[in-house]
Amino acid sequence: MKFPYIKAAGLAVLLTLSACDDDFLEQYDPNAVSTAQYFKTEGDVLMAVNGVYQSLRSSNTIGEGSYLFTDERSDDAGRNDNQSNAGEPFQFNDFSLLPSNTYLKNHWVAMYGAISRCNTVLTNMEQVTFSNEATKAQYQAEVKFVRALLYFHLVRKWGDIPLVTRQLRTSDEVAANTFREKQEVVYGQIVADLKEVVASPLPDRQTGAGTGRVSKTAANALLGQVYLTMATTIDPASRSSNLQEAKAYLTAAYGMRPFGQLKELPYADVFDVAKEANNPEIIFQIVNRQGDVNYSSSIAATFQAKGETINSLKPGTGVGGRASLDLVKEYEEGDPRKEFSVKFAEDPAVKDWFITKFRDTSPAAGTNGYGGNDWVLMRFADVILMLAEVHMHLGEEAKAIEYLDMVRERAKMPTYAEAQKDPAYSSKFPTLKLAILHERRVELAFERHRWYDLLRFFSTDELVSFFHAKNQADYGTAQLANFSRKDRYFPIPFDEHKLNPEKMYQNDGY
C-alpha cells in the first residue's frame, strides 16, 4: 500500500511528536491509581483503613488460618505429618525450625506487609482534609491499634525486630530501616501507640455495623496485656510499675463490659455462629460471612477429621486440626469445655483427637464449608484471667482467685478453693500461678493464646524444663527433646538475615 498523502501526514506527525516527547513517554497504569496520588478524600482514607483490617484476615498474619505460628508451636496442637510440604510445617512443632523455612519467611513478610499498610495510611492521611477532626482521630486510632497489635506479635516471636513507623518510599529508606531495634524500644512504640488509641474518640465498644472494628475496650485490654508481658519478660526493674499499669488498663477494659457477670453469658455462645455478631463477651473479632466463597470462615471444615460431621457439612478428608493428647489430659474431670473443644475421631485413618471448638453445620455454610465463624481475637474471659494473673503477681491472691473463679463458675466448674481439695487438681496445679495458666489453657484453647502464655509465664530455662518434663507419647511424632533455649524465639528468616548479617543478626542457637 502506498498513500501519496502519507508524506504530508508523516511530517505533521513528526512535528507533533517532537513537541511532546516527554508526554509520549509518560505512560501510567490506566487500571490503577498511583499511591502518591491516591489519598484525596475522607472516603479514600476509610477504604485504606479497611485495607489495614483486610490484612488481618490472612493466614500468614494473625487470621484464623495462622495456627502454624502459635498453637502448633505450643503443646496444644501440632502435626504428626512430617512429610507434607517438604516437612516445613512440621519443623514448627518439632522445634527443628530452620531459618530458611519458607512458612516462617511468608509469615514475616506478611506481618511487615500489614505494618507497611498501616504506615502508608498514617503517613498519607496527614494531607487529607476532614470535615470532622474526630473522624480523622478515629481512623488514626484504628490503624495505630492494628500496628501495635502486629508489632506485639512480632516482638514476642522474634525479640529485637526492625521498627518502622512511616511509609518507606525509596530503597535507600528501606536499607536504612533494615536493622533490629532492641525489643524495649519496640515495646515503647507499642505502648505509645496504644495510649493514643485509649485517649482517642473511638467508641468504648463496637456494635452493629461497627462489629469487627477497633474499640477502646480492645485498646485498654491490649495495652494491659502489653504491660503484663513487659512486666514478666523484660525490664525487671520496672516490674511493679508495669504491673500497676497492666492492672489499671485491664481493669478499665473490664469496666467497659456490657454485661454484669461473666456467668450470665453461656460459654458456647461465644462460638455460636448465630450469636457471635453481638456477643457481649467478644471485644475484637475478624468478621466472616456465612456462605460467601471469599469472606467466609473455613476453620470449621479445615479442622474436621475424616468421618466426622460435628464441625461442618463438608466431609473431612484427613486428620483435620489435630489436638495434642497433652491438652486433652489437661481438662479436669467433667469440664464441659473439653466436650466442646475436642473430639476423638474414630476413623481408622485418623484415630486421634481433633479440634471442634469452631463449628458451622448450617445448610447456609453448606458442603463447601463456607462457615460464618467470626475469628475472635479478644474476649472478656481472657481479660478476666489476665486480671487474675496481674493480681497474683502483685500478691493480691484473694482478688486473683475472685477473677479466676469468674471463669470457672461460668464453665460450671467448682471454685478454685473447692478444686484444691481434689488431689488430682492440687497436685497438678500446686500454685495459683499454675492454676491460672491451666485455666487459660482450657478456657482459651486454640484461640492462639497458649504459646504467648507459656512465654509470659516461664523464663527461657523454665520453658525448656517444662517441655522436657512432658510425656513424649502425649505430644506426637514431633520430638520434645529438640526443645532448647533457641526455641524461645523464632530465627530471623535466612535471606532477611543475609541482607545485612550485622544489623539483622541471627537469634541465638540458629
Binding site: Y28, R117, S484
Partner: protein, 623 residues
C-alpha cells in the same frame, strides 16, 4: 487474528539525499474460551459431586493488541571515486497497546450451558480474572549511522542511538547506545592475491557496541494501589478495602551491555570450505533484576538496576561448512558449529548474595554471587550414606552435643557423620548425610554452597546434506555438554515413598546392610524420611548433557522431462523430527526450563512436556 498495515513514502530532496517515512500498524485479536465441566471429577470426588460442581468453571477472555510505528529517516548515499559514504539519520516513535478482558463464572449445576452465561445466581459466581486491564508502552528513538567503504576492502561504520522507554522511571528514561565496527577484506588486497591466489577469501571484522535492554513489564517504576479487596464488618456487610502495592524504584533505567567482537571469515578452495569464527567478550551493567529487599518495605523484592554491577560473558562460536564431494550425480556436504560461553558475575555493586527460589516447593534453589556464574544451584553436598556401623559413633556425638547452644563443645572431634539440623528424625542406616563445610560438626543453613551449574561447558551442532541422482538426504544433530539439571520431578518419582511410580533406579536403593544398593540412593520410607534425604542437595542434580539427532529427511525428486498433468517438478519425502536423544538424564527432556527464561533460576525441571517424535511423509508439487 492478525492484521498488518503499512504505508511509506519517500522523497528525493537532492540527488543523493532521500527522506523516507514509514507508518506501520499491527493488530492482534484473540478470543479464548474454556469450560471445566461438572462431569469431571474434582480430586478424589466423583463427577457430579458437590465438589465437582463447585470446581466447574467457564472462562471467556479477549485480547486486543495494537502496535503503532512511525519512522522518519534521511539518507545520504554517495559514491566518489573508490569511496562510498552512506549517512542515515532518523527518528522513530512506537506505541504498543494491549487490552485484556478475562472473566470467569462458576456455580454450574450441570453442563447444559458450557458458557459463562450458565453461571449460578450468586453475585460471587461471576468474577474478573487477574490480568484484566489495559496496558501501553512507548519507545522513542533518535538514531544515526555513518558507513564508509573504500575500494571494497575497508569498511567503517559508526552508529549512535538514543532510546527513551516509558517503562523506566522519569529520571532514567533515556539510554544512549553508540557502536563502531570495522572490516577488512584481506583477500581483496593485491598482496593476498599474489600469495594465495584468487580461489579463497578472507575477511577480518572487529566491532564494539553498547546495547540496551528494556525487557521488563510496564509501569514497573510507579507504586500503585492494588485492585480493591473486601473486608467484612457488622453482619454480612462487605466493605471495600484498598492498599498499596509494593515499593517501586523511580530511578529504574536501561540495562546496558558493552560487547567487543572479533571475527574472521574464511572461504577456502573456491569457497567449498567456509569458516566463520567469532570471539566476543561482553559486559553487562546496571542489570535489571528483582532485588531482594527487607520485608520492612512491605514486600520482599523490588525490580531495580543493580548499580555498578558487572556480568561478563565471553566465548566464541565457530561455524564450518564444507562441500566435500560435488559431482554431477553425487553431492555431499557437512557443516558443524560449536559455541563456548563463560558467564561470570564480576561485581555485584555491593549488593549481597542473591538467593532465589526456582522450584515448586519454594526452596532456595539458586544463588548469584560475585566470582560465580549467574544462577548457580545452591544447597547441600551429599557426602555419603549412613551405615549401621555409624550408629554407635552418632550416639557418642549425640551425647556430646549441647542442646542449649545447638553446638558441639570447643575442640570436640566428631566421630560419626555431621549432625544435621535439616534432619528432624534421628539418622538411620540408609539416610544421606551432608558435607559440613565449616567443620563445626553441625550441618545447617551455613553449610549450603554452590553445588552445581546449570550452564553448559559448550553447545554444538552438526548437519549433513547429500544427494545421489534424484535421491537426497538431510540430517541435523545438536548437543549440549557439561551442564546440570535440578530435577524437581524427583520429589515425586524418585522419593522412595511408593506414593507414585518410581524410576527404575530405586531398585538400587539401600534396603539393608546385606543389600546396601549402589550407595547413593537412600532408603525407602514413608513418614520417616523427613530428613537429609529430602533436602535440596546434590542428590537432585543430574548431568544435563545430551546429544540429539534432531532431524532426518530423505527425498526423491521425479526426473525432469516427464510432463504429466502440467506438473513441472515433484518431490516426495519422508521426514523424522527428534529421531534420537542420547542422555543420562532421567527425566523426559534434558532441555528444561521450569522458570521460563528467568535469569536467576535456570535449569529446573518439573516434568517439562516431552518433545514429540514426528514422522511425516510429504510431496511437493510445482505446476
Amino acid at each position: 487474528m492478525r492484521g498488518t498495515y503499512n504505508g511509506y513514502a519517500s522523497l528525493q530532496i537532492l540527488p543523493d539525499l532521500f527522506f523516507k517515512t514509514n507508518l506501520g500498524l499491527q493488530t492482534y485479536n484473540e478470543k479464548y474460551e474454556f469450560y471445566n465441566p461438572t462431569s469431571l471429577s474434582s480430586g478424589a470426588n466423583p463427577p457430579g459431586s458437590p465438589q465437582a460442581l463447585a470446581a466447574a468453571r467457564a472462562t471467556a477472555q479477549t485480547i486486543a493488541q495494537e502496535d503503532q510505528l512511525a519512522e522518519f529517516t534521511l539518507n545520504y548515499n554517495r559514491d566518489f571515486a573508490r569511496h562510498n559514504l552512506n549517512v542515515l539519520g532518523g527518528y522513530s516513535a512506537q506505541k504498543t497497546y494491549s487490552d485484556l478482558i478475562s472473566v470467569s463464572a462458576r456455580g454450574f449445576q450441570n453442563d447444559r450451558i458450557p458458557e459463562i452465561t450458565g453461571k449460578g445466581a450468586e453475585a460471587s459466581d461471576f468474577f474478573m480474572n487477574s490480568g484484566t486491564g489495559k496496558s501501553t508502552h512507548t519507545l522513542l528513538s533518535y538514531f544515526g549511522r555513518a558507513a564508509y567503504r573504500f575500494d571494497d576492502k575497508y569498511f567503517l561504520t559508526a552508529t549512535f542511538r538514543a532510546d527513551g522507554s516509558s517503562r523506566f522511571g522519569p529520571l532514567n528514561r533515556w539510554g544512549y547506545f553508540p557502536s563502531v565496527s570495522a572490516g577488512w577484506t584481506i583477500s581483496n588486497e593485491p598482496f593476498y592475491q599474489s600469495t594465495f591466489g584468487t580461489n579463497s577469501s578472507a575477511k577480518l571484522r572487529a566491532s564494539w557496541g553498547l546495547s540496551g535492554n528494556n525487557n521488563i513489564g510496564n509501569y514497573s517504576h510507579e507504586q500503585v494501589m492494588a485492585s480493591p479487596g473486601g473486608v467484612a464488618f457488622g453482619s454480612n456487610t462487605i466493605a471495600t478495602a484498598i492498599w498499596s502495592e509494593g515499593i517501586k524504584d523511580q530511578n529504574l533505567g536501561w540495562e546496558s551491555t558493552s560487547q567487543y567482537n572479533i571475527g574472521l571469515d574464511l572461504g577456502l578452495f573456491n569457497n567449498r570450505l567456509q569458516v566463520i569464527s567469532n570471539f566476543y567478550i561482553s559486559r553487562s551493567y546496571d542489570l535489571l533484576f528483582n532485588q531482594p529487599i527487607s520485608a520492612v518495605s512491605g514486600v520482599s523484592s523490588m525490580l531495580t538496576n543493580l548499580p555498578d554491577s558487572k556480568v561478563e560473558n565471553k566465548g566464541f562460536d565457530i561455524q564450518v561448512d564444507g562441500s566435500i564431494v560435488s559431482t554431477k550425480d553425487f553431492t555431499f556436504s557437512m557443516g558443524g558449529n560449536i559455541s563456548v560461553n563463560r558467564n561470570k558475575v564480576l561485581d555485584m555493586g555491593g549488593a549481597s548474595t542473591i538467593f532465589s527460589r526456582g522450584a515448586e516447593r519454594s526452596y532456595l534453589t539458586h544463588v548469584t554471587q560475585e566470582g560465580y556464574p549467574i544462577g548457580m544451584f545452591y544447597g547441600f553436598k551429599v557426602k555419603g550414606m549412613v551405615r549401621e556401623s555409624d550408629l554407635e559413633k552418632i550416639a557418642i556425638d549425640n551425647a556430646n552435643f549441647d542442646e542449649a547452644t545447638q553446638s558441639f563443645p570447643e575442640g570436640y572431634v566428631l566421630q560419626g557423620p555431621p549432625r544435621s539440623m535439616a534432619s528432624s528424625n534421628p539418622l538411620k542406616p540408609g539416610d544421606l548425610y551432608f558435607e559440613d563445610v565449616n567443620g563445626d560438626g553441625v550441618v545447617n543453613d551455613e553449610d549450603k554452597r554452590v553445588i552445581g551449574s546449570p550452564h553448559p561447558k559448550f553447545t554444538y551442532g552438526l548437519s549433513v546434506r547429500m544427494s545421489y541422482k534424484n535421491f537426497d538426504l538431510n540430517s541435523a544433530f545438536n548437543g549440549v555438554y557439561g551442564n546440570q539439571v535440578l530435577d524437581g520431578q524427583d520429589y515425586y518419582i524418585f522419593n522412595m515413598e511408593g506414593s507414585g511410580n518410581q524410576y527404575a533406579e530405586v531398585a538400587n536403593r539401600y534396603q539393608s546392610e546385606a543389600q546396601p544398593g549402589d550407595g547413593t540412593i537412600y532408603r525407602a520410607a514413608r513418614g520417616g524420611t523427613q530428613s537429609n534425604s529430602t533436602r535440596l542437595s546434590t542428590f537432585y542434580l543430574q548431568d544435563g548433557s545430551f546429544f540429539r539427532w534432531t532431524n532426518l529427511q530423505i527425498g526423491y525428486t521425479l526426473p525432469k522431462g516427464i510432463d504429466y498433468l502440467g506438473i513441472s517438478n515433484l518431490r516426495i519425502y519422508a521426514n523424522i523430527d527428534n529421531v534420537l536423544t542420547l542422555s543420562d538424564y532421567k527425566g523426559y527432556n534434558p532441555e528444561v526450563d521450569y522458570n521460563n527464561g528467568s535469569n536467576l533460576t535456570p535449569g529446573v525441571d518439573y516434568g517439562k512436556y516431552p518433545l514429540v517424535r514426528a514422522f511425516s511423509l510429504g510431496a511437493r508439487v510445482t505446476f
